[in-house]
Amino acid sequence: MVSKEEILEGLAKAVIDGDEVKSEELAKKSLELGIDPYEALMNGCNKGMAKVSELYECKEMFVPEILLSADAMYAAIDILKPHLKVDASAKKPAKVIIGVAQGDIHDIGKNLVKMMLEVAGFILIDVGKDVPVDKFVKKAEEEDADLVTISALMTTSMMYMEPVIKQLKAKNHKAKVIVGGAPINPDFAKKIGADGYGKDAVEAVKVAKNLIGA
């Protein structure tokens, strides 16, 4: 008989190893054993992904490995999510609009940030890549977003971050803006009026948490 601890540890390990099959198998097993799906997510998958973040930060894991870890994590989430109990009294998680700046189709970095923010408990609304300025603003309004995160990989597309910030400010929207991507640095982020800058996906999560006081 497999214990609850073994299942949770196994889930964490499957995520770290990027083992989608094992992750699915253990998520199903956790339901069969009556383990609270929230606990399986938090103490299994998320624990694994926290380790992935740590390994990425100290350059022991790289993008191919993280993509597979994400696959393993989402495989488990797909199984566990329908069984999560909704707690109406719980604090609502912060909503984040995420996308790649206009003119830019490079979305691997954006997808990593998205995944890590989801793991950290944020609700993500992904507006995709090559996103026009107006779309970021419109979506932030529609969703009453707490954060808008924009990535850019080109010196041409990074120029479309500032107009998003300006438009949100002109509308007095509450959303804070985090920017990131290869050509961006803290000086540029400050210059365009961004509320935060993330040099990578792990830092983006820390900045996001700070900005919303989580």
Binding site: G18, G103, S157, A182, F188
Partner: protein
Amino acid sequence: MVDKMSPAERFHAVLMGEKPDRVPINPFILGFAAKIVGMPLGDFYADGNKCFEAQFMCMRLYGYESTPMYGYASCGPWEFGGKIGFPYGEGHSAPYVIEHPVMEIGDIDKLEVPDSDKPVGGYVEAQKVCDRCTQMGMPAIFQGGSVFTAAAVVADTSKFLRWIKTEPKSAHALLDKVSQMYINQIEYFVNRYGAEKCVVFDGGPVEANTVISPQRFEEFAFPYMMKVHKKIREFDIPVTLMHPCADQNLNIPYYIKLRESFNWKGIYAWIFGPETPLKTQIEKFGSHDIIGGNVDPPSIQTKSYEEVVQLCKENIEQGMNNPRGFILCPGCEFPPLAEPIKPMAFLDAARQFGVYK
């Protein structure tokens, strides 16, 4: 100072290992040239003749040392029958992939490697640029890599990055085909212009250590880089421009191994990303190879003329006494949206701080 050499003389001097009058400049200008001459960026990449004309006008306007070339980071998909888009849209900077020729593992087997009897995809436009250059006594510069970056865009990029872990054999099969495509296109250009007039440009961003580990670089990028460079050496192409794009500090041992494998033969010029200190480059390559400066491209776009002059000054002071020579460059393509005064910042800095006594 007043220049004592022409741009061609200056560039030739540094290639030959002689001291020029001052530090030469390769501003890595592509899309910026389109803006300067008032040409849509899409036209610049869609038509090799326009690409040549914009760059030729821009080099005459500023008087820097580099000559026109055709190339962009997403080389590969078009050459294998995929579909690319030209940068006509807002925020675009270079051609981008619309349809990857490889979407599933099974597509790799079906992929046909173009022969060496004709140029394909972007090489058709590159040939137009090279024809015009060679007619005017300039070198024919064309892409010969990087194989890893090209494979990562021939296939859907995020799938390819997964396959190097989950389907390594298939990833190798794709890398092998891409390397052969480069070799065949290099052979075509060598046959057309003669090896002595050719310059190969090799570089790409997907092998950066923000994406893959040095171990994956060793397994998946290095063997195919070696394969292509072995042919470059066999063809006896005199000059190779290497651009390990972005942060490739952990891959440096493999670039050294590449050069050591060929006993440091041929003239190699390195343009690393701004993440690699010039001191490191000089230490590792400087006795044998030319080092290109690596002024931070976003700073060129966002900082003032005076600040860019200062960045160039620092770069020149660190690099100009490299034993095998130094060229002032940005650490990647000159930002297309930079103000027109910015190449002048490079020239002014070279004339003020880069004079050889």
